[in-house]
Each structure stands twice: as C-alpha cells, then as structure tokens.
C-alpha cells in the first residue's frame, strides 16, 4: 500500500503496475466438483421455471429461468443441476446462483455442434453473452447506441492489475483475429487498444489504433481514455456508449477467436490472484469455479477477518465468501490481510481539501459528501457535480477523516438513477 510520503506537499501519485513478466503462462485449474453459475435474474415463484434441480445439462447448454427471460448462462460442463440459490450484490441487485454438478461420464455432445456459427451480432447476443472476458453484447446490440469505436483495454484500469496486459501479450494473435471478427459483426469502424506507455513487450497489433496511456492512475479509466486519447470529454452523467465508444476486455476478443476457430464455446477465464504479500499468480479457471479452489491451488491461506477483493484496490469490491464463483468479467482477485485493512470511520468531513485537490474530475467532494450524507441526491448532482465523477476512488484513498467517500458517491449515483427512473 502506498502511504503518504513524509513530505506531502505535492499530490500523491499512484502508478499502474506493468505486466509481471515472471509469469509466462496461466496455470490450468481442473474443473471442480461443483460449479456455481451466476444468473442475473431473480427466481419468480409465480412462474414456471424451464430448469430445476435434478435436470441434466449438456456442455454449452443455454440455461435460462423462464421462457420470456433474456438473461442466460451457458453451462460450462455436462452434468446435473444441484440447486438454486439467490444472491444480492452491493447495491441490492439480485439474481440466482445455479449450482451444477459436473458428470465426467456424460458425453461431451454440446448443442453447439449442430448450431451454425454465424458471425452476426444476433448470434453473439444469443450465445456469446457469457464468454470469458464478458463481451458486452447487450451494449453492442442496444439500438440506442451507435457504437463506432471499440477500445480494447490492453492497459488494466485499476492499479496492481495486469491481467489485461497479460492476455494482450500472451494471446496477441487470437486477439487480433477476434478483433477482426468483432469488427465484421458490428458497425464499428475504429478499433483502438490502450497499452501502457512504458510496456516494453513487443506485440504485433495489426489493425489496431494503439493508444499509449500514462502510468499514472487513473489514466486508464474509460472516461480518462475518452478525454485524453479520443478527444471526447464526457458530459456529466454520460457514458462512453453515448458517444459511440465501447470498451472491451482483450480476453473477450481472444474468446471470440477461439470460439469461431474451434466451433466450440470456451469457459476458461484467466485470472490473476494477488496474495497478501503482493505476489501474483496466473490461473485459468472454468467459469463457475468457487474462488476458494484457486486459493487452495496456490496454497494461499485465508484467515478470519481477511478481505477478499474482486478487482483492484481502488475500484474492486469485497466478497463475503470464498465460495464466490469465477464469473466472465473477473480479472483479478486480491487478498488483503486483516492488519492492513484500512479503517473507515463515521467522522464528519473536516474540510481538509485533500479530496478536492486529488480529484481528476474537479469535483468539490468536501461539499458533495455533505449532501450525500443527507441523501440529497438531486442537489448533489445539480450543484456539486456528482455525475462528473469518473469513479476512480482517489478521494476515498486520501480522505483524512477516513470517510468512505467513494462508497457514498457510488451509492449516490445509484440512488440518483433510481430516482430518475421512478420520476
């Protein structure tokens, strides 16, 4: 953890990690005895479900709850559905866990063998919504957006993370192939890729417009890339998609290329595990694998009061269980020892201004937080620029009063959206 320096007259500078080249390849993890698939739809007991515990599933089979549901998952294995469970995330969005028990004896005849592999967005929406790397098909097919530029995040957005850099360098060929496929599917005419400016690895990025991003956090966040490299400053509350730009993980392209090359779906997600000492491990795990399996594979001990973070230290989220499954957009898992878990307090803002000085979006966080604490979300947006926030978390990182600023802000934005939707 980077501490305030002894003399702190200048702004603290957090830098991104460069690719850890000592890890040449990702260790493959065997398919565990049970997989948990995460479906973003709640069980509705009034409706008749299409699937239920005890049902046999085939590898690659599309699982959805009801006839009229859009969310689906693909079963990574042939086996039996063991049970359903419900889950809810940080903001109270709910969904369903589908637990599948793999059956090694089942024949690997997946539905896909028959299906025509079409290079169309419709096909992608139907079958490729859950590929490793999480291709944002719902964005690409959304008629409200006119996606013309695709930015591949070759530079990881959060500090410490290097999974995207690894995928770009280790699977460059597949990624380039995947980019061609995606370009053919969509109306995008510009394919960009962010690459850390001081990354020395030589990769052939044929067909890409290379954007060299600085090593200072948060220059790899979408809003910053838009502003610094695409010359499009997002207006408050806007997202890159509104400007016709879609950000995609390199792994999504790799998966895409593999699928069209082999005609079979892929389920291996590349993940970087960062242990308490900061040591990195690279692993390839089947989607649905409980992350506890990854810990035991590398003998990483999880103790009482430790913290497991999915994502990086600035923007990730903490999970309450080591059974959390591997999901298509999980790049990094980080374990933090109970000793270094920073204490957050319910202090009032003391107006020290640290947050104001560090905020890359010039937000008066010191005033904003007062309104967020009072649940005045509209005022927070109108007068104190809540919607300009690019969600970098730097304000929380420096807050002298140890206020969970970033959480207040994320929650505030969420509440604001809810308010507006209901209005």
């Amino acid at each position: 953890m980077i501490k305030r320096s002894f003399f702190a007259l200048s702004k603290p500078r957090l830098t991104y990690d460069l690719l850890d080249t000592s890890l040449q390849s990702a260790q493959e993890l065997a398919v565990p005895g049970s997989l948990t698939l995460l479906l973003p739809e709640e069980i509705d007991s009034a409706k008749k479900a299409l699937i239920g515990p005890g049902d046999a599933v085939k590898k690659g089979q599309k699982l959805k709850l009801y006839d009229d549901s859009t969310p689906y998952v693909l079963s990574p294995v042939a086996g039996t559905i063991k049970e359903f469970d419900s889950y809810s995330d940080d903001f109270g969005s709910t969904g369903t866990y589908i637990v599948v028990k793999p059956d090694p004896s089942a024949q690997g005849d997946d539905q896909w063998a028959q299906a025509d592999l079409e290079q169309t967005l419709e096909f992608a929406a139907d079958y490729l919504g859950q590929i490793p790397g999480a291709l944002p098909v719902s964005t690409l097919t959304n008629p409200n957006y006119d996606i013309r530029t695709i930015v591949v995040t070759g530079a990881d957005a959060d500090i410490l993370c290097d999974t995207c850099q690894f995928v770009c360098t280790a699977y460059a060929g597949l990624m380039v192939a995947g980019a061609k496929i995606l370009k053919a599917m969509t109306r995008a005419d510009r394919m960009c890729i962010t690459v850390p400016e001081n990354l020395s690895a030589q990769v052939d990025l044929d067909g890409f417009n290379v954007l060299r991003t600085s090593d200072t956090y948060p220059s790899n966040l979408p809003a910053m890339v838009m502003k610094d490299h695409l010359g499009k400053t997002l207006s408050p509350g806007a997202i890159p998609e509104d400007e016709g730009v879609c950000f995609i993980r390199p792994e999504a392209l790799v998966s895409l290329a593999q699928i069209y090359e082999t005609g079979h779906p892929v389920f291996d997600k590349i993940i970087t595990l960062i242990d308490k000492g900061g040591k990195k491990y690279r692993v390839k795990a089947t989607i649905g694998t409980p992350i506890s399996k990854i810990f035991s594979c590398f003998n990483v001990q999880i103790n009482e009061r430790d913290r497991i973070i999915i994502g990086g230290p600035m923007r990730g989220f903490a999970t309450y269980t080591a059974h959390h499954p591997v999901v298509p957009d999980m790049d990094t898992i980080m374990v933090q020892d109970s000793d270094v878990v920073p204490e957050l307090l319910d202090n009032a803002c003391v107006n020290c201004g640290e947050c104001v000085r560090i905020c890359p979006a010039n937000i008066p966080v010191n005033l904003l937080v007062r309104y967020l604490e009072a649940n005045l979300y509209e005022e927070a947006a109108d007068r104190f620029d809540l919607e300009s926030c690019i969600e970098c978390g730097l304000c929380g990182y420096v807050c002298r009063a140890r206020i969970p600023l970033y959480q207040y802000i994320r929650l505030g934005k969420h509440e604001l959206l809810t308010l507006r939707e209901n209005a």
């Binding site: 980077i2 007259l9 806007a238 600035m314 929380g396 990182y397 009063a401």
Partner: protein, 321 residues
C-alpha cells in the same frame, strides 16, 4: 475455509494512511519550538498555562462528547491543539480560571455548538480569545502581565507601543529581536523564528496549505508597504508588522485551520491576502493594536462566500451530447 469470517467493506481498499490524528499530531509537533521557547523565556508559569490550556480543552471535549452523546474523538488530539494554541497566545501570568474559561469558550462555543469537528466556521481558539478580549481585556494585556518579570529587552508589547506612542516606539524593537522572541507577548507567539520553522514543517507535511500562508504574508507585506511608503512617519515598516504580535502564528497556524478556510486555490489566495490586508487596516486605521484575531475571524466568515470559486468539473459545459 467454509465459515471464515471475511471483512466486507468498500473500495478503495487502500488508504494513504493519513488521519485526523496525524494532522493534529503534526500541528502539535510544529507548535513545539515556539511553545518550548515560551517556557524557557517566561518560566514555570508559562509551562503551567500551556499544560492547563491543553488539558482543560481536552477535558471540555470529553465532557461535551459525553453530554452530546457524540463519539469520543479525544484521541484525535484536536482539542489538545485548540488548547495549546490558546495557551500560546495568552500571557504566562494568566490566572488559571481565565485559562479554563477561555478553553471552555473555545471548545464549546467555538466547536461543539457547530456540531463538533469539521463543523466550526471559525477557528475555535480565536473564538475563545475574542470573547476573552471583549469581556476581560485586562488579562490579555501583555504590558501589565509581565510587570514582575525582569527582561533584558524592552518589556512593552510592540504593537501596543506602536499604537500609543506612534512610530517613535519603533526604535526599541529591532527586527532581529522580534524574530528571536525578545519581546513580550503570548507565551508561544513571540518566537518568530520558531513559528516560521514549525510553520514550514507543517506546510511541507501537507497539513497547512502554502497558498494561504503565502498570500496572508503577502497581504501583510504589500498593504503595510503601501502605508509605509505613503507615510513613513505615521506607519510602521512592513517587517515590523510581520514579526510582531500574533501575525506569524496567525499566518502559519490559525488562518490555515481546515474547517474555516477554503480548499480551492484561488479562494485560498483571496482568503489569505484578505486576512493580511485586514490586519494592517486594523492596526493602521482601526482601534485595536493587533487585529490578527479580528482579521482571521473575518476571513473565516467570508470563507464560504469565496470558496465557491472553483474549477469546472469534468464535462461541465461540454455540449457534445
């Protein structure tokens, strides 16, 4: 691993380690050179006053937190700093009951009535001092406070002498003496050099904003120079103003208090400059000999009005929707 209790909290999961305790500890450390000099200079009574001021302020904090059922924040040391600053600005001979009344006003009226830490629109110490100045000015009279002392320098408070005797009094105070603390005044507010060293330390540590300090001093020097150049016989030279009275402690330690000062750059510059400007106005035109307390309370008051000048947030005014 099944039932391992994990900590769930929110991003960011790193923190730069800064805290209110660190802030106040550094204020405390930065105040030490000037405070120690005061003890050395004014003897045991000075130590008594400083100790009483700091401890009574902390006691008021404990009592008030208990009464208002607020979380005990005594360990943050904020009250200790409020109390210490109070002690450093009063004479070493101040009676104990005046000291504790002063810290009571500072902590209770200066801080708690506004909701505690972070809520105070004025510097709490100054609230205490201002009310004492109005109610019992005799206890803050540095000329009478030290009558029993033997000094080997002019035992007159420089600014009071200036006010009553005019510029003829200036001959008794060299800039060197003022810088080295050879003057009478508050326990910890006379040793200019110590205050400057402590103040610079605080700036370098990032706990005082240099913009405020620099513009405050610039405000003093520029305004005083204007007066001095126009009427050198009537007004004191700029350096005299900078080095005497509460000016330095005001610039380095009082004007920079977080809650009552701006955070944006341009407002900080305006705020500081205005403070320095007001001090000289009070001294040269007004009735009070010093004016630092008044001037800082005044800029505290206008702080919310000027701190709205701030850079445009990202994407504001962009019309590429």
């Amino acid at each position: 691993m099944t039932n391992t209790k994990l900590i769930v909290s929110h991003a960011p999961f790193w923190h730069n380690g800064d805290s209110l305790f660190q802030q106040n500890l550094n204020f405390f450390i930065a105040l030490l050179p000037a405070a120690l000099f005061g003890i050395f200079h004014f003897g045991a009574p000075a130590l008594g006053v400083l100790a009483l001021a700091a401890s009574s302020a902390m006691l008021w904090e404990v009592i008030m937190s208990a009464l208002s059922k607020k979380k005990m924040a005594i360990a943050d040391m904020e009250s200790a700093v409020i109390g210490l600053l109070f002690g450093m600005m009063v004479p070493a001979t101040m009676p104990w009951w005046v000291v504790i009344t002063g810290t009571f006003i500072a902590v209770v009226l200066g801080k708690f009535v506004f909701g505690g830490t972070g809520g105070n629109p004025f510097h709490p110490t100054l609230v205490g001092l201002a009310i004492l100045t109005m109610s019992w000015p005799a206890f803050l009279d540095f000329d009478t406070a030290y009558v029993s002392y033997q000094f080997d320098f002019t035992a007159l408070a420089p600014l009071v002498a200036l006010k009553s005797q005019g510029t003829s009094a200036l001959a008794s105070f060299s800039n060197y003496d003022l810088l080295m603390g050879n003057e009478v005044g508050g326990i910890g507010s006379t040793f200019g050099l110590g205050i400057i060293i402590g103040g610079i330390y605080l700036i370098l540590k990032g706990y005082a904003r240099w913009e405020i300090v620099a513009s405050f001093i610039a405000g003093i020097l520029i305004t005083a120079t204007l007066f001095f150049v126009l009427h050198p016989d009537t007004y004191a030279p700029p350096l005299f103003h900078l080095l005497s009275g509460y000016t330095l402690i005001g610039a380095f330690f009082l004007a920079v208090e977080n809650s009552s000062s701006p955070v944006n750059r341009i407002p900080m510059l305006i705020y500081g400059f205005l403070g320095g400007f007001m001090i000289i106005l009070v001294r040269n035109i007004g009735v009070y000999p010093d004016g630092t307390i008044l001037a800082i309370l005044l800029i505290n008051l206008v702080n919310p009005l000027i701190d709205i000048i701030r850079p445009k947030a990202l994407g504001k005014g962009v019309s590429n929707a």
